[in-house]
């Protein structure tokens, strides 16, 4: 954890948020950033999440695991209201608070929320623009025009996503010309360019080969110094490797949420034990 390169540690937060002090102290306290209470979520008439209560710590990696259709991705997409875009979805009960603000509250603008809670998707989706344009897309739509500022952000973000050295000579080539793993890291760079506080990752490595996966996982390690990361994954090894805390979901319910170590070594719930030991799912 200490082998961070100085560049990424100091420079991957491009926007002018006040630098956080006393980060080391947080580690012990684990302050809650996202607090989900009694959440019921519906796709039309079908209930997808049942009474979810979970407190996600600040600047840690939290992994959501569970068999397909267990609701882990749904919960993830609730956290930046991406579910709003799907017809017939609704939070019927409960609340999600980020820094004590109910993100489903009436005065919340989902657009502003998504600037603060970024997302990386399962299938890498760079826009068919140049690498440069991909990175500054988020700033462009916020109206940032200064060329120097944009150049600066591009470099910082790409460094932050450990992609700078690979692409610095071809920033104006299409983002689609990159390899799969590079594309995914480009998407991460694009996300951190708008300086979010939280990065949601929806199975970011499921379409990547093992080497690319290792690179992304390494990147997650780096990123958690500045960002709170929530990662949905199918791979228990990945959850074990890169998360601090793990939540196990089954049939739309949160079964167990604990230190990753505990979940894998000492699960309290028999269903969790069955799942992590590979007996079902």
């Amino acid at each position: 954890m200490e082998n961070t390169s100085p560049a990424s540690a100091s420079s991957s937060r491009p926007l002018a948020t006040p630098p956080r002090v006393a980060r080391q102290d947080d580690t012990a306290a684990l302050p809650t950033l996202i607090d989900v209470k009694g959440l019921d979520f519906y796709y039309g008439a079908k209930q997808a999440l049942f009474d979810i209560n979970i407190a996600i710590p600040d600047r840690r990696v939290t992994a959501f695991i569970g068999p397909s259709g267990c609701g882990k991705s749904t919960l993830l997409r609730c956290l930046n209201r991406m579910n709003d875009l799907i017809d017939g979805t609704a939070v019927k009960r409960g609340e999600i608070k980020i820094r004590d603000i109910d993100i489903y509250g009436p005065s919340v603008d989902p657009i502003e929320l998504r600037k603060r809670v970024g997302m990386v998707f399962q299938k890498s989706n760079p826009f068919p623009k140049s690498i440069y344009e991909n990175i500054i897309y988020g700033l462009r739509i916020q109206g940032v025009k200064s060329k120097t500022k944009l150049d600066e952000v591009v470099e910082k973000s790409l460094r932050g996503a450990a992609l700078w050295d690979e692409v610095k000579d071809r920033l104006h080539e299409s983002g689609l010309s990159l390899s799969g793993g590079q594309q995914q890291r480009l998407c991460i760079a694009r996300t951190i360019a708008v300086a979010p506080e939280v990065i949601l990752m929806d199975e970011p490595c499921s379409a990547l080969d093992p080497i690319a996966t290792a690179k992304v996982e390494e990147l997650i390690h780096e990123l958690k110094k500045q960002f709170t990361i929530i990662i949905v994954t199918h791979s228990m090894q990945q959850a074990a490797r890169c998360s601090d805390r793990t939540a196990f979901f089954y049939m739309g319910k949160l079964i167990e949420f604990d230190e990753t170590h505990n979940i894998f070594m000492n699960p309290k719930n028999p269903q969790t034990e069955a799942y992590v030991s590979g007996r079902f799912g």
Binding site: P18, I98, R99, D100, I101, G105, S107, D109, E112, L113
Partner: protein, 539 residues
């Protein structure tokens, strides 16, 4: 949107680094994004609005037709035209019998020339008796004809004066509207007293009755002594003629009865105006006697042409779809599909021109080949007829049917085909027993949409269908296809440019348009219904 106070308080309670509330620019209580969404939503309504406007304007222009047509029919009755037409029936029947006689003469003449090898002069000589007979027969109706002529003039005069009065009344109304009272008063209108005027006709019924009696007597005399004819077949025809004539004479009392019962004061109901349009057998405009707006000939013409087109297009279109999708080599597939799509891009007016310039003449010549002699109605003399138009419409329908049917066949899951092969079925068995049934509803819907395309097509029928407004004679069997017809689309295109807006003829054309519009909607509805069903069945 929540009240301002809540917003502020929430913002204050959160650390400054996590601001997710934002006041967006508002316009009439909507955010910019909502305004944009509203704009696009409004645009999406365009299709609905246009459909509504089309319906509205067709109704607006067509709605007045039925009341105008009732007036038209009322005048027909009031002015005694209807009465005269009743009296004309025997004359018309008599004329038909005369035609029968001249047909018989033609046959006999042909027999003399071809079988007995006589010269034209000799044959004419042999027919001298027959000619005298036919002439006497034809002249027998002279008395009723002159009576009818007299009546016709009176009735037409009454009608003309009534219509003149209507024009004057309209002129007066306009003058009054313009405030010219004096000029308006100067417009003198002599009202037509229908009852009195028509009695001039009905009063002479005894004379007409007398004339029919004379006709009956002379006909009875004539049928007793028919001229001898050379063959048994021709003699049998003559006997048939005698029976027909006796029937004709027997129909006189009924005719006279209906004329006596006729009453001008019976009002024409609006429903009759309606039925006269839908079931009317005549479309006759700008006539000096009486205008008729009966859509049956047009509907029948459209149907006939469409049937011919579909009879050609269904086997070709569906067959080609099966071939291209299931049997053709990849190279053929790559070439044929765009080629057929390209055919659909040929403008219909060009096809119509081709019909006039090439196809009509070609079909006429081809119909003379002995190879086709077995087909009833062949050979035919009219270059432009239902067949010419139908062939070209078939070519128009083919790409529609082909494309949609090919889509439907393509949508049959591969697994069906593979399962069938795995059970040992041949390629063709698979196609006929698995693929066609599975895509049948799609194919049917393709055919329906092809029909919609054909019925709505204008230029080809306008140019090539022959434009004769008459109900095709379906008794001719298959030969009916060689008759010239007129269609619903054709009549609109042909007559719309020449009518006076607001007049009955103008409105009649709009009612035909309305009919066409609803037929198209109906066809579309069924096609969609079938497609929806088919989507469910495939899963």
């Amino acid at each position: 949107m929540p009240p301002e106070s809540t917003t502020t308080s929430v913002v204050e309670s959160s650390p400054p680094s996590f601001r997710i509330q934002k006041e967006r620019t508002q316009l009439l209580g909507l955010t910019l994004d909502e305004c944009i969404q509203g704009f696009f939503g409004g645009n999406a309504l365009v299709a609905v609005i246009i459909l509504g406007l089309i319906t509205f304007f067709l109704f607006r222009e067509g709605s007045g037709f039925f009341s105008q047509n009732r007036d038209n029919l009322s005048i027909y009755r009031l002015a005694g035209l209807e009465y005269v037409d009743l009296g004309r029936q025997p004359d018309k029947d008599h004329a038909a019998l005369s035609r029968y006689l001249s047909d018989l003469r033609r046959r006999t003449y042909q027999y003399y020339m071809e079988e007995e090898g006589l010269s034209a002069k000799e044959a004419g000589g042999r027919l001298a008796d027959f000619d005298v007979y036919a002439d006497r027969f034809a002249r027998a109706s002279a008395p009723i004809r002159s009576q009818l002529m007299e009546w016709g003039e009176i009735a037409n005069d009454i009608k003309a004066r009534h219509l003149g009065n209507q024009n004057l009344a309209e002129k007066r109304r306009q003058l009054l509207a313009a405030g010219k009272t004096k000029e308006a008063a100067a417009v003198g209108i002599l009202p037509v007293n229908f009852a009195v005027e028509v009695s001039a006709i009905t009063a002479t019924l005894p004379a007409y009755e007398e004339a029919t009696a004379t006709l009956a007597r002379s006909l009875e005399e004539l049928i007793l002594a028919p001229p001898p004819l050379p063959t048994v077949e021709l003699t049998a025809r003559m006997a048939r003629f005698q029976t027909l004539t006796r029937d004709f004479i027997a129909s006189f009392p009924a005719t006279l009865e209906s004329m006596k019962k006729w009453d001008a004061s019976v009002p024409v109901p609006l429903s009759q105006s309606f039925t006269a349009f839908i079931f009317g057998r005549q479309w006759l405009t700008a006539s000096f006697w009486q205008d008729w707006y009966g859509a049956t000939p047009l509907i029948a013409g459209s149907m006939l042409v469409s049937l011919i087109a579909l009879a050609l297009a269904i086997p070709l279109g569906v067959g080609a779809a099966i071939y291209v999708n299931q049997l053709a080599s990849p190279l053929e597939q790559r070439l044929i599909k765009p080629a057929i799509e390209f055919i659909s891009a040929i403008p219909s007016v060009v096809l119509g021109f081709f019909g006039i310039a090439v196809l009509g003449e070609f079909l006429r010549v081809a119909s003379g080949w002995s190879f086709f002699a077995w087909i009833p109605g062949f050979p035919f003399a009219e270059r432009l007829n239902a067949l010419t138009a139908g062939c070209l419409l078939g070519l128009i329908a083919v790409p529609t049917i082909f494309t949609l049917a090919e889509d439907a066949i393509n949508n049959v899951p591969r697994a069906f085909k593979e399962a069938s092969y795995a059970l040992g079925a041949s390629r063709l068995q698979t196609i006929i027993r698995i693929i066609v049934p599975a895509s049948l509803s799609g194919i049917v819907s393709a055919i329906l949409l092809g029909l919609g395309r054909v019925i709505g097509e204008t230029m080809v029928v306008l140019l090539c269908a022959g434009n004769r407004i008459a109900i095709p004679d379906f008794t001719a069997g298959l030969g009916v296809v060689t008759q010239p017809v007129h269609t619903m689309t054709g009549i609109i295109a042909q007559e719309m440019g020449e009518v006076e807006p607001g007049g009955i003829h103008y409105r009649a054309l709009f009612v035909v348009g309305l009919l066409l519009f609803f037929i198209a909607l109906l066809i579309n509805y069924f096609a969609q219904k079938i497609v929806r069903k088919y989507k469910v069945s495939i899963g």
